[in-house]
């Protein structure tokens, strides 16, 4: 048997196995089919993590080289157990940490701040409080970006998308990857 034949057989086997795997784990990519709220926040939880990969914080943000990158959920968390999937993940060399906070005063050490819908009324205060901190603010509140938040989840055609307020990010001295910007439905300058 020559190299090519081996290769062909190998590929064929792979195709068969992958097809079987795909059939067995066939899960429709439908966000709102079963438990729409939980599914939506599963995606958003993943997005939260993804954002950390495309954003650069100034070095002084972290107290130490091995300090974790902390995602803080402010207010009543809509994620349920979706955030559990982020546990144990790392961002570059840092460990990822998730923390639940109830007031903006507790957000010391947070690099990502998710503002829950429960804090809608406190939004101006919250934004004002983090204005000069190197914190990536994320929320799915309407017009969050326009209000001065950095990333705003939106839902388009049943898909989770986002808007980016570049000015706010620059104010927070965060560098957002052009790739991320390219994906943003709207970029506010």
């Amino acid at each position: 048997m020559d190299f090519q034949t081996t290769r062909i057989i190998y590929n064929h086997c792979k195709i068969v196995i992958l097809t079987l795997v795909a059939l067995l784990s066939a899960v429709p990519w439908n966000l709102f089919a079963e438990d729409s709220a939980s599914r939506e926040y599963k995606v958003k939880a993943a997005f939260l993590y993804n954002f950390t990969l495309f954003v650069e914080w100034p070095t002084e943000t972290f107290p130490a080289n091995d300090s974790p990158l902390t995602i803080c959920i402010l207010g009543k968390s809509p994620f349920g157990d979706a955030l559990g999937s982020l546990r144990g993940k790392t961002v570059k060399t840092r460990k990822l940490a998730v923390r639940q906070i109830n007031s903006v005063q507790e957000m010391r050490g947070c690099q990502v701040l998710f503002v829950s819908a429960s804090e809608k009324m406190q939004l101006p205060n919250i934004l004002a409080a983090v204005k000069n901190l190197n914190v990536l603010t994320v929320s799915d509140l309407d017009r969050f970006a326009e209000a001065g938040g950095i990333i705003n989840f939106i839902t388009l055609e049943d898909k989770v998308r986002f808007e980016v307020n570049l000015k706010a990010a620059q104010q927070a001295r965060l560098k957002i990857s052009s790739q991320l910007l390219k994906l943003a439905r709207d970029v506010i300058e």
Partner: protein, 692 residues
């Protein structure tokens, strides 16, 4: 196939070799060129597309992570707009198709890349190594922060590559064809450098072997191995030519040898017989006569012995030359071997003519020869036989001529003899006797008789002579004069002579043991026996063997036996003499003794031949000879014995002349040993009486 190749012409072989070699080289070169080109192209495209996949991966990683197919599609479309890309896909890490790009004209059904493609390697290519397959793929994993999020798979557009390859193949084929054609024409021209001289050589060789013409040569055109091959071939032909010539000469020589005698140049026996049979055939038809003549030189052996074979050979040549001058052109002189010549006289009107020729020949041969400054005399004896009177076949005629010649020799030599029927009878008897003689020795048929010799003064025995007798069981007593010449001819004389000496010695010994008075016993020794190299040793041996004193043995040699080759005779006689053996000369007066030589011989006695004694009382001449011999013997101090004394008158004459001893019938004939023993007793008694 291979056998067929082996059997094709040299020209075709050379061309095949050249073309095969150049073809293989060209094909290999082209193949290497194409393979290298393909590998380069493959590597280039692989590298290019890998970097393209890298760019796609980098630019679409966020889109994948945020599940933004639209953005990913845009990125893929923009980057994949490269003529080298036939199709491109992004596959999620789970192997699901994320986005796909298809170049215009790409047949999706034939594209094999897709969701199933999720290789474990970070990057690589797959598919037919040399790029002829449409299934070639290049993939690159998309990794963000160490996490594999998907894979970029690109199928290159091989159309250009295949076109290029096809072009290469076409060019290679054309170049190959052109090169092959050039090689063909060049080889056709160049091979002739080798094949033409070889073919020319082969042609010459064929011609030589067909026409057997060894004078042909091949022209040499070059100084290489072929040149030396041609040189070698030509040299070989020269050699063959020379050998041919040598062989021809050799054959001529053999022809000569087969038919001619080497020494004299005369025809040999074979050719003679051939001519004779032809002559007989013609003579038979023409009712003519043919004479066959044998000529044999007398005592030629003596010339060989005394003057050497060289002189003998020269003499034979002279004889041959003389013979040829005598005969007619139509006659044939041949040498049969040794000193024997044969002459064929065909178309003979009268047998008498043959005797004229024979006379002429004998006379001519007996004239003096000058050989190496020496005068040599020789005679010949001839035998003649006539066809058809004496015989009708070649064999018969030759045999008859030989018989006639033999008779001529017996008749005193230097004569010729015609064949007669009686000769044949005699010859048969002779042959018969010869055979018997041989057996006689083996069967011990011979006996010795003894004849006493008497002292004339007191008539007492002084000594005795042993004489051989052959009591033949059928033919009765045969006397020595009949069988001794035969024995001499056949060489039997040597063992017979030896037997005589031994028998005599044994008899002496016997008498000795019987207590009889002892007297010397004389034995006759033939010249032939005497001249044998080891004669003295033989005698010594016999004496030692029998224990007989040499003083009791007397050797008698004829006068003619000692007068040839005197020096060596004297030498042997001296040896015998020193042993104490008595030596006497028999038949004295009949030979041609040189009296001056006689004194040189160490001899004891002379025996006067019986022919002188027989006539001494009647013939004055003979009496004078007898008296002369006796007086000469006296003056030389030799004992003298008279042989064949039969009458008292003879005895009285001898006594008066002072001859002391005699032998003859007057006193006693030869007696067998037992009778002689009786005589010895009588003799002793007489002596005793006398003394009393």
């Amino acid at each position: 196939m291979i056998t067929a190749f082996y059997n094709t012409s040299l020209k075709k072989k050379l061309m095949t070799i050249i073309l095969l070699t150049s073809g293989v080289v060209l094909c290999l070169t082209s193949a290497a060129f194409i393979i290298n080109e393909m590998a380069t192209f493959r590597r280039t495209i692989s590298e290019e597309l890998l970097s393209l996949a890298d760019i796609i991966g980098n630019n679409s990683s966020a889109a994948i992570m945020f599940n933004d197919k639209k953005a990913a599609q845009e990125t893929l479309n923009s980057i994949s707009a490269n003529p080298r890309v036939l199709a491109a896909r992004i596959v999620t890490k789970d192997g699901e198709l994320f986005v796909e790009y298809l170049a215009p004209g790409a047949d999706r059904s034939r594209l094999k890349i897709g969701a199933e493609e999720a290789p474990a390697e970070a990057a690589g290519d797959a598919g037919a190594l040399w790029g002829l397959s449409k299934e070639v793929r290049i993939w690159k994993r998309i990794v963000v922060d160490g996490t594999h999020i998907g894979t970029v798979v690109i199928q290159p557009n091989m159309q250009g590559h295949i076109k290029k390859l096809n072009l290469f193949f076409a060019i290679a084929a054309l170049v190959l064809l052109a090169a092959f054609l050039i090689a063909y024409f060049m080889s056709m021209k160049l091979q002739s450098l080798i094949s033409v001289p070889i073919m020319r050589l082969a042609e010459t060789m064929k011609k030589v072997s067909e026409e057997k013409d060894y004078s042909l040569r091949t022209e040499k055109t070059s100084k290489d191995e072929i040149g030396s091959l041609i040189d070698g071939f030509n040299e070989m032909l020269t050699e063959v030519e020379e050998r041919d010539e040598a062989l021809r000469q050799h054959q001529d020589h053999l022809q000569r040898l087969a038919h001619f005698d080497d020494l004299t140049g005369l025809p040999n026996r074979a050719l003679y017989c051939d001519r004779l049979s032809q002559a007989l055939f013609q003579a038979d038809r023409a009712t003519q006569k043919v004479a066959v003549m044998f000529v044999d030189l007398d005592c030629f052996k003596d010339i060989n012995d005394t003057s050497g074979h060289r002189v003998g050979d020269l003499l034979l040549k002279d004889v041959a030359a003389r013979l040829q001058t005598i005969v007619r052109v139509s006659d044939t002189v041949a040498r049969m071997g040794g000193d024997e010549f044969t002459i064929l006289l065909p178309n003979l009107e009268d047998p008498e003519k043959a005797s004229l020729v024979a006379q002429k020949i004998l006379q001519n041969i007996s004239e003096v020869y000058q050989v190496e400054g020496n005068d040599i005399y020789i005679t010949a004896s001839a035998g003649i036989t006539i066809f058809p009177d004496d015989g009708k076949t070649v064999d018969d005629l030759l045999k008859n001529a030989d018989t006639a010649m033999y008779h001529a020799k017996n008749n005193g030599r230097n004569v010729f003899q015609f064949f007669s029927r009686e000769m044949n009878v005699k010859m048969m008897n002779r042959l018969d006797l010869q055979n018997n003689l041989r057996h006689a020795l083996e069967r011990n048929e011979f006996v010795l008789y003894y004849q006493p010799r008497i002292n004339i003064a007191d008539r007492c025995i002084t000594s005795m002579e042993a004489l051989i007798r052959w009591p033949h069981p059928e033919k009765g007593m045969i006397m020595p004069d009949r069988f001794i010449p035969l024995a001499e001819e056949t060489g039997l004389i040597v063992p017979i002579g030896e037997w005589v000496i031994r028998a005599a010695c044994l008899q002496i010994r016997k008498w000795q043991t019987q207590g009889n008075p002892l007297f010397p016993v004389a034995v006759n020794v033939s010249a032939y026996q005497f001249r044998r190299k080891n004669f003295t040793e033989t005698v010594t041996e016999i004496l030692e063997e029998t224990g007989v004193s040499p003083a009791l043995l007397e050797i008698e040699l004829t006068e003619s036996a000692i007068m040839k080759d005197v020096d060596s005779v004297i030498k042997v006689l001296k040896e015998l003499n020193s042993l104490g053996i008595i030596i006497s000369i028999d038949d004295f007066g009949t030979g041609y003794s040189s009296l001056s030589q006689l004194k040189r011989f160490p001899i004891d006695s002379l025996k006067i031949d019986r022919s002188f004694i027989a006539n001494a009382t009647t013939n004055a001449d003979d009496r004078a000879i007898v008296i002369a011999i006796i007086s000469m013997a006296h003056s030389l101090g030799l004992n003298i014995i008279a042989e064949g004394v039969e009458t008292e008158m003879q005895l009285a004459l001898l006594s008066a002349q002072g001859c002391q001893e005699m032998q003859g019938y007057l006193f006693s004939k030869p007696l067998p040993p037992d009778l002689l023993t009786q005589l010895l007793h009588d003799d002793r008694e007489r002596k005793i009486q006398k003394n009393n």
